[in-house]
């Protein structure tokens, strides 16, 4: 059984702990002079705790979990792209078109047929939009379709 996962994690965490701890030492002394407890005391403590734990992980790693490969990894990557695209398009496109696409695309990639997937997207988008904009009077971006 491989246990590279924990070793890599340990290494990344160690670098993080060092950077974080080093960063804490760079702040200028606060106005009014240094006291027993400065802004750097607590972060320094944390860096030490994280650093020691990361060393433990590198020397005594757990066996790896199974990481998705090939097609599953591609699906996961696609889902992340859909999420980012949703956030990106929400304001320019408006809530209903963006949501229809995001929910539809996700359902479709999770195994639904194209038409029911995008219908689910459209219906849920319209329902949520109506509830939020009219029921709760919280404005979601209407986009070009809702231009007044």
């Amino acid at each position: 059984m491989s246990n590279r996962g924990d070793r890599v994690l340990g290494l990344i965490l160690l670098v993080l702990a060092l950077a974080y701890g080093w960063g804490a030492q760079q702040w200028p002394e606060p106005f009014g002079g240094a006291e027993e407890v400065g802004p750097e005391t607590f972060p320094t403590l944390l860096a030490i705790v994280l650093g020691l734990s990361s060393l433990y992980l590198m020397f005594k790693p757990d066996p790896d979990a199974e990481w998705p490969l090939g097609k599953t990894a591609a699906e996961l990557g696609l889902a992340m792209v859909i999420l980012v695209a949703y956030a990106f398009l929400l304001e320019p496109l408006g809530f209903i078109p963006a949501t229809t696409m995001a929910v539809g695309a996700l359902s479709w990639r999770m195994g639904a047929k194209l038409l029911p997937a995008f219908m689910t997207g459209l219906i849920s988008a319209v329902v949520v939009f109506v509830i939020f904009n009219y029921g709760l009077s919280l404005s979601l971006p209407a986009g070009p379709l809702g231009a007044e």
Binding site: V37, P39, V49, V128
Partner: protein
């Protein structure tokens, strides 16, 4: 008898039509959240927080809503345990053992009804325990100084991985990461900018609500995609209710025992609802011995864990409300709501925000009654919803999470942050780094730093003050025990629990 007076005042808060409506709504949504596989209580409550915010609910209403959801989720978890042999959430896994066999014998409706009744008694016993214990503990907690609080936070982290947790070092890593995230932003004490890299959005720190929603909701979606479980499971038949009053009566002693055991394990740090239902089930099995037919669909085998897990969920509110230190993932999320509402959790809440505390407690009692009333006639409806495949459900849940986060600040920046947390959450879960300590770290980090600072100022920089009182030493001792326990008794417990259960969601 001042407790009684407070409770009556609490009922006055909880019984206003406005709050009652939200309690009912919360109970309903909560049952749904608990019932649907892949949408645990912590996850469900997390998604509702931004909504409670944007609705501009008054603090007591927001807390009543979320507490009802919390109580409801514990009810809902059992539905898929009984019908599908798949626990809707982790504490419901013991219910599979007798619930599913009973359903296979064509008595699914009876199993659901018994579990609803047992959930009710468990919840009731737990809430009564909460009413009796919380004010006492709150008064005791008033004697805590900053050093004791610092030790208490350590205890919370050390035990959060739970006795059944795997690798305590990973719990420490998670907690450290969470606290580190909380240090981003302008330091309150000195005004120093820490880890902001000049980015304006980071000056006020990272909002833990988006971290929570990202870590839970988005990572859950990614896990479902990976496991290709989008199609869901086949529809199940519930059948007619044939339960007799005699049969229900026979399980009453079991319910009482289960509820009390559950409450105790809920209050104890690190035990939580999962252990509550486990202990209730195993002890009941041993107590009844040959008189029970456990594992073959014994009604008492359903009543014990259900009473246990609902008792524990009320018990888990005790440390959260009195000390500001949650003992489980879901209570951590409830704590996040309190902090966001600008209420400082802890012993002072019982005097300064008595209306909220007692309103919430009264809402728990009312919620339990509502849940019982909701659950028996509406069980068929919940069962129908169980058959909605995750491939439609999870994208919609994700969308609701987006809407919630977006409507807080109307900024796309927050959405990217949430997605980043989701992806990080997925990777960390893959590496078996628990997510709940990260969230707890973000929540408790500022308090920890503040108390550390106060303690060291009091002692003129002598670190010895942190273990300077017997109480503090005791807390440190328990914290050390909490970290050692997974090594000592963890493997044994895990093996026993694992014998019954193959899969389970991340948190309780």
């Amino acid at each position: 008898m001042e407790t009684l007076q407070f409770l009556i005042d609490g009922f006055a808060v909880a019984l206003t039509p406005y709050n009652l409506m939200f309690a009912l709504f919360g109970a309903f949504i909560g049952t749904l959240i608990g019932a649907l596989p892949g949408l645990g209580p912590a996850n469900g409550v997390a998604i509702l927080i931004p909504l409670a915010f944007t609705l501009g609910l008054p603090p007591e209403t927001a807390m009543i809503l979320l507490t009802s959801v919390y109580a409801g989720a514990m009810y809902g978890g059992r539905i898929s345990s009984i019908l599908l042999n798949i626990p809707g959430d982790e504490p419901a896994m013991m219910t599979c053992l007798d619930g599913y066999p009973m359903a296979q014998k064509g008595r699914a409706a009876d199993a659901l009804a018994i579990s609803a009744i047992a959930s009710f008694s468990g919840g009731l016993i737990g809430t009564l325990g909460l009413i009796l214990l919380a004010p006492v503990l709150a008064r005791f907690a008033l004697t805590f100084g900053p050093a004791e609080y610092f030790a208490l936070f350590m205890l919370a982290f050390a035990t959060l991985g739970g006795i059944t947790g795997k690798n305590p070092v990973k719990t420490i890593v998670a907690a450290a990461l969470g606290v580190m995230i909380s240090t981003v932003g302008i330091d309150i004490a000195t005004g120093t900018q820490r880890y902001t890299f000049g980015v304006l959005e980071l000056f006020e720190g990272i909002d833990f609500i988006l971290a929570i929603v990202g870590l839970f909701a988005i990572s859950e979606l990614l896990f479902f995609i990976e496991s290709k479980a989008g199609a869901g499971r086949e529809q199940v038949q519930v059948g007619k209710l044939t339960l007799t009053a005699k049969e229900v009566g026979a399980t009453v002693p079991t319910q009482v025992r289960g509820g009390i055991l559950g409450f105790i394990s809920g209050v104890l740090p690190g035990a939580g609802a999962s252990l509550g239902s486990f202990i209730s089930y195993t002890l009941e099995k041993q107590y009844l011995g040959k008189r029970g037919r456990f594992g073959e669909g014994d009604a008492r085998g359903i009543a014990a864990p259900e009473a246990g897990n609902n008792g524990a969920s009320s018990g888990a509110l005790v440390p959260m409300l009195t000390l500001g230190v949650p003992g489980s993932g879901t209570t951590a999320v409830l704590l996040a709501m309190l902090i966001s509402l600008n209420i400082t959790p802890g012993p002072l809440m019982f005097t300064q925000n008595a209306d909220i505390v007692w309103g919430v407690i009264a809402a728990l009692l009312i919620g339990n009654v509502l849940l019982l009333v909701l659950n028996i006639p509406l069980v068929g409806f919940f069962v129908k919803l169980l058959s909605v495949p995750p491939m439609y459900l999870l994208p919609i849940v994700t969308m609701v999470a987006f809407v919630g986060i977006y409507s807080i600040s109307h900024s796309t920046f927050d959405l990217y942050f949430m997605i980043a947390f989701g992806i990080a959450g997925y990777i960390l879960r893959k590496l078996e780094i628990p997510l709940v300590p990260i969230i707890l770290g973000m929540l408790l980090g500022p308090e920890m730093e503040k108390n550390l600072g106060h303690a060291l100022v009091l002692s003129d920089g002598d670190w010895g003050i942190l273990w300077g009182s017997p109480l503090a030493i005791g807390l440190w001792g328990f914290a050390a025990l909490g970290l050692a326990a997974p090594y000592l008794i963890g493997p044994l417990l895990r093996r026993r629990m694992g014998a019954a259960i193959k899969e389970g969601p991340e948190s309780d």
